[in-house]
Amino acid sequence: MKKYILKRLGTGALVVLFSVLFNFVIIRLAPGDPTRLLAGKDNPNPQMIATLQEKYGLNKPILTQFGMYIKQLLHGDFGYSYVSSSKVWDLIRVRIAPTLMIAFTGAILALFIGTLLGIYAARRKGTKIDVFLCGISYLFDSTPSFWLGLMMILVFAAVLKWFPTSGMYNLRGGYKGAKHVLDVMKHMFLPVTTLTLIDIPYYFRIARSSVLQTMSEDFIMTLRATGMSESRIFNKYVMRNAIIPTITVFGITLAYMITGVAMIEIVFAWPGMGRLMLDSITKRDYPTLSAIYLLLSISVAVMMIVVDLVYAWVDPRIRVE
C-alpha cells in the first residue's frame, strides 16, 4: 500500500511539473513580444526594451528564467493581469466559491439521479422503459452543454419567465438574509439543471452496466441457488459491489468539475472561473489564462490521486496489483 501511495504521488508531482513546463513553454512561444508592447508599439526605443528585458529577466538564459518562474509560483505568485493590472490571484480568488457552488450541487444531483435511474433501468433490462432511458442518455451525452444552457434560457427564462436569464443575484433587488439566499437559489436553478442533465448519462450508464455485470457473476447464481429472495440478494450483495465504479466516476467528475461548469457559467453569465476564463480569452490576458490552467491542473492531479487512494482502500484488489 505504501509503495502504491508513493507511486501515485510521484505521478502527481510529474503532472504538476509538466503543467508548469507546458505553461512556461506556451507563454514563451506565444507570438508577440511583451516588452515591445510595453515600450510602445509604433516607435520602440531600444534602450527602453533593454531595460524592460532586464527588469523582467528576459535576457537571462532560458533555464534561469524557468527557475525564476517556478520560484514565483512556489510563493503563490501568479503575476499580474495584463488587463486589469491587479494580481491574478486576487481575480481568481473571488471566483472560486461561485463556481464550486454550481459544480458541487450539479455533481451531487447528477450522482443521485443518474445512479438511481441506472439501477432502475438495469432491473428492468430490455423493457421499453430501459430502452427509452438508454436512448435519452445517448442524446444528452451528445448535447453540447452550452447549447443546452441556451435552450434552457430560451424556454424557461425567456418564454415561460419562470427563472431569471443570467447572473447570480438580482442587482436591483438589494435583498438581505433569507430573501437573498432565495434569490441566489432562483438564479442557480437553470445552470445547475443544465449541468445535472449533462452529467446524468455518465452515472446512468456506469450504474446500469455495473449492476448488470454484478448480477451475472457466479456468486449471485450461488446465492440464488440457496433460495435467497431476489430483493435480498439485490440489496445486500449486488448493490454493494455495483456501487464502487460509481464512486470512482464521481471522484473523477469532481476533479474535472470546474472544466465542465465553465461553459455553463459563460452561458448564464455566472460570476465564476469560467466567466473569468472567457474574459481573459477575449482580452488576450495570458497571465490570467495560464494561472487558471495551472490551478486546474494541480486540483485535477490532487483529486485524481485522492480518488485512486480511496479506491485502493475500498477495493484491495487494486493495491495488490
Binding site: I26, F146, W147, L212, M263, L296, S297, V300
Partner: protein, 288 residues
Amino acid sequence: MPKDVSKKKNSKLKKTFATVRGNTQLMLGLIFLLVLLAIAFFGPMVAPFNPKVLNDDLLAPPGDLYRLGTDNLGRDVFSQVLYGAKTSLEIGFTAAMISAVIGVIFGGIAGFYGGIADRILNEIMNIFLMLPTFFLILLIIATFGSSMFNVMVVIGLTSWVGNARLMRAQAKAIRERTFIKSSIAMGESRFSILIRHVLPNGIFPIIANTTMNISGAILTEAGLSFLGLGDPNVVSWGQVISNGKGYLPKAWWITTFPGIMTIFTVLTFFLIGEGLNRVLSPKMDANK
C-alpha cells in the same frame, strides 16, 4: 475456382450484414452517417445562399425564402447549417486520425517491447491522462491562433491516450500468442512483427474508440468556436450558435438549428462506436 472465391466472399458479406442488422446502434449510426455525408457533399450545391453573403433581411424568421431564417447580419442560417457539416466532419476525422496514429504507435511500442520503453511511455500516458485537456487546448489555441489546422492538430495531440492504452493492452496480449512466438523463432525482426502482425491484429478496438473520438473532437471544436476560438474563415456550427446567443429570445432559430445538427452528428459517431464495441465484445451483448 473463381466461383468458389466469390461465394466465400458473398457469405462473408452476408455475415457482416447480419451483424449490422442485429445491432441497432450500429445500424442507426451508419444510416445517420450516410445522411451526414450526403449533407456534407451535396449541401454546398443545394444551399440557396452563400453562407457568408450578407442579405438585406436581418433576423428574418424561418420562411419560404430563408428556410431557417437569417442571423443578425442577414446570413442565411439554412446555408450556414449545410456548410457547417463539412467543417465538423473534417475536424472530427482529422483530429481522431491524428490521435489514432499517435496512440497506435505509442501503445504498440509500449505493449510489444515492454521493459523500460513500456515504463516510460506508460508514465507519459498517466501524466497526459491527468491533464485537463480542454483547458490545455484552449490555452494553446488562444495563444497561437485559431486556424482550423491548429484546432485539428491540437485536439489530435491531446486525445491519443485512450487509444494508446487500448493498443498497449492489445499488443501485450498478442505478444504471447503462438504465431508471434513462431515468427520470432523464424528470425523475423521485432519491428517487422510489430508492423505486420501485432498492429493489424490489435487494431479493432482502436477503430471503435476512434469513432468515439470523432464525437469528442466535434464537441470540442463546437466549444472552442462558441468561445470565439474557431477559425474565422470557415462556417462552423459552434460559431453560428455563438452568433445567435445575443439574439436569443427573439431570433431563436439562429442558435437552435446548428445545435440540433451538432447533436445529430455527435450522436451518429457515438452510436457507431457503441455498436462496434458491441460487435467486438459479445459478452457486453449478453449484458445488454
